[in-house]
């Protein structure tokens, strides 16, 4: 997972060529270019081409966790295994990596009930931008990266005895 070699064209387009920014905009020259900000960070193969969690954990970036003095910054170190024994490997949902970025209330209880096993997940809904797909596919790593979530071989899980 080392940084990609520095040769070849930059994989990040300059703002004036990204199809969004107006090249004639008078403020454009003062904006930071993606390549300048993102090239030094741990490289990924999808999305922004940045391993964002790794960037945070390694100290490559130090984003503030709160702005207001009274805010309680909440984190949780707990894994949830869902989607067991389907056609794909089971999904390990790590609260720790998610709460590094997010607050509990970003997902609970609007998107997901805060009880393990109480939620029904649907890839159709996720691909439609709901549930996990609210972020994954928009700003968090995209839904092309199946195995990052579906990472737990079903054979490694013990089936509960039949009811």
């Amino acid at each position: 997972m080392g940084a990609a070699p520095a040769t070849g064209p930059s994989p990040w387009l300059p703002l004036e060529k990204d199809g969004l920014h107006d090249p004639r905009g008078p403020g454009l020259g003062q904006l930071q270019q993606p390549a300048e900000a993102l090239a030094p960070l741990p490289r990924d193969t999808a999305g922004n081409l940045v391993r964002w969690v790794q960037a945070l954990e390694s100290g490559a970036i130090e984003p503030r966790a709160a702005l207001l003095p009274g805010t309680t910054v909440r984190t949780l170190d707990q894994d949830i295994i869902v989607s067991k024994f389907g056609s794909m490997p089971a999904v390990k949902f790590p609260h720790r990596q998610h709460t590094l970025w997010l607050d509990c209330a970003n997902c609970h209880d609007k998107l997901f009930k805060a009880v393990a096993g109480a939620n029904t997940f649907s890839m159709t809904r996720i691909l439609n931008g709901e549930q996990c797909g609210l972020c994954h596919g928009a700003v968090a790593f995209p839904l092309t990266e199946c195995n990052r979530c579906h990472s737990v071989p079903n054979a490694s899980l013990r089936r509960r005895s039949a009811p």
């Binding site: 454009l28 904006l31 691909l127 797909g133 596919g137």
Partner: protein, 125 residues
């Protein structure tokens, strides 16, 4: 031989001209009102902000809904210190009088989240 060189040159220039043209992953275009009000749309870069702030700062403390398009943000809110104005106040980040730094998009852009891999329906991302 010369003709082949011309073909290669034309093909190359076409490739360069039509080459990769994409916004950065997670960029959001804000254009519910900009075009109508005669200013360029806003391009909000998630990549720039998440280097400096965790998601929870804007999506919890500042009150931004997580779905692009779900937020009604007026310039009057920002000037009064709400939403973007919590930071874009001339102290944490540039103030609202620096119009062109945020209103930097091409006129006519459709609002929404862009960047190439967003979901827009089952099986399409």
């Amino acid at each position: 031989m010369k003709a082949r060189a011309v073909v290669v040159a034309v093909a190359t220039s076409l490739l360069l001209a039509t080459g990769p043209l994409h916004a950065e992953y997670g960029d959001v275009v804000l254009n519910k009102r900009s075009d109508r009000e005669g200013v360029r749309p806003v391009v909000f870069p998630h990549w720039f902000h998440r280097i400096r702030f965790r998601c929870k700062v804007c999506h919890q403390e500042l009150g931004f809904e997580m779905r692009a398009g779900a937020n009604e943000v007026l310039m009057s809110d920002i000037i009064d210190g709400r939403f973007c104005g919590m930071c874009h106040n001339g102290r944490v980040a540039w103030g609202p009088e620096r119009c062109d730094l945020c209103h930097s998009g091409l006129p006519g852009l459709a609002p929404g989240i862009v960047g190439g891999a967003q979901t827009s329906g089952p099986g399409r991302w």
